[in-house]
Symmetry: C2
Subunit: 206 residues, 2 copies
């Protein structure tokens, strides 16, 4: 597994982000509109042709594979392709994760693209977000790479689309295993609870 | 929770799908290119302006909320906005789920948009897909609406990006609870296993 150290410093990373982040946000809006539009066949055909032309321009110079997990020369993480927090991934809400001592949290909004049951978040989307936040807290802000060993989710009630919060914390660390817990909540309280065991891979052990 | 019965028959649904499905596929390609492009600031600014114009056209006539879960007049499901199987959701791979007696499966490809660790599927994306397939098999092809009660995932090794298979089956049904299991596999065998309990909601009980 190849983590990439980019020959860019924080200033260059910020300059790149200023270009790609608002662009990605525009594609994110398009994604929502793609699901919800009632435009007719002619408008859709015109939009499709225009989008194919844009994609061809973007693909004229692109990475061979996926974005990867990169770090600036100062060691700052650039998980820009990540489906939960990636500022260059239009399918990511994206979450901005805030960190306390042994705890992290994010407030975010989920719309049409994340719907399972009518007007409610797909249960698997809740699992995606919880897996990410439990993994992030277990990794100690990324200082200690970990992979999900097991994760269990308990759905207390439906999670409505709209404004939500996710919170995760470390319960205990036992050798290479970190035990983490968390939940997603709406204004009325928790809707889904999770607990997981995250494992430090052999190559990251000292 | 409001399921929508559309005043469209199978022929009209097929006609709508013929318009929106290839368009959504074009947006899905754009999503991948958005993550991987190395285009410079000028090209990106031009692409962003063009996309914002397209989104405005699409939004001129759009649904007030999310797509919802619709059925044709013949009772055929139209989960077109779903983030796993939705043919109108650019973030869905989308999976085409095939059904046997007490079993369902899908073969699909995951690229840059689904990456967690470098070149590997985000653990939460595996959870999303497994939750969907276990729920689908537990619902008996959608005849018996169910919601996830609990789901547990065990990660055997990293799941590489690329061609994958997901399979799920019903273990047993005990009143309103259906016990389902499943896995994701690559060419070398299973990478993630799941088991879940799916609950028939009170309003769907007879």
């Amino acid at each position: 597994m190849q983590f990439t150290y980019e020959p860019v410093d924080a200033a260059e990373a910020a300059a790149q982000r200023a270009v790609y982040e608002p662009f990605t946000q525009a594609v994110r809006e398009l994604l929502d509109a793609t699901i919800r539009t009632r435009a007719g066949a002619e408008d859709i055909a015109a939009a499709q042709a225009a989008i194919e032309a844009i994609t061809a321009t973007l693909r004229a110079d692109q990475m061979d594979g996926p974005f990867g997990v990169r770090f600036t020369s100062e060691g700052e993480g650039m998980s820009w392709g990540n489906p939960v927090i990636g500022v260059r991934n239009p399918m990511a809400p994206p979450l901005t994760v805030e960190h306390g001592d042994d705890r992290c949290w994010a407030e975010f909004e989920l719309g049409a693209a994340y719907e399972g049951p009518p007007d409610h978040v797909h249960g698997g989307i809740s699992a995606l977000i919880l897996d990410h936040l439990l993994g992030e807290v277990a990794s100690g802000r990324g200082d200690r790479p970990v992979f999900t060993g097991t994760i269990s989710l308990r759905y207390l009630r439906g999670t409505p689309l709209g404004r939500l919060r996710c919170e995760a914390w470390t319960e205990r660390i036992d050798g290479v295993k970190t035990y983490a817990r968390g939940f997603i909540s709406d204004a009325e309280g928790p809707t889904v609870e999770a607990e997981g065991v995250f494992i430090q891979p052999a190559w990251a052990r000292q």
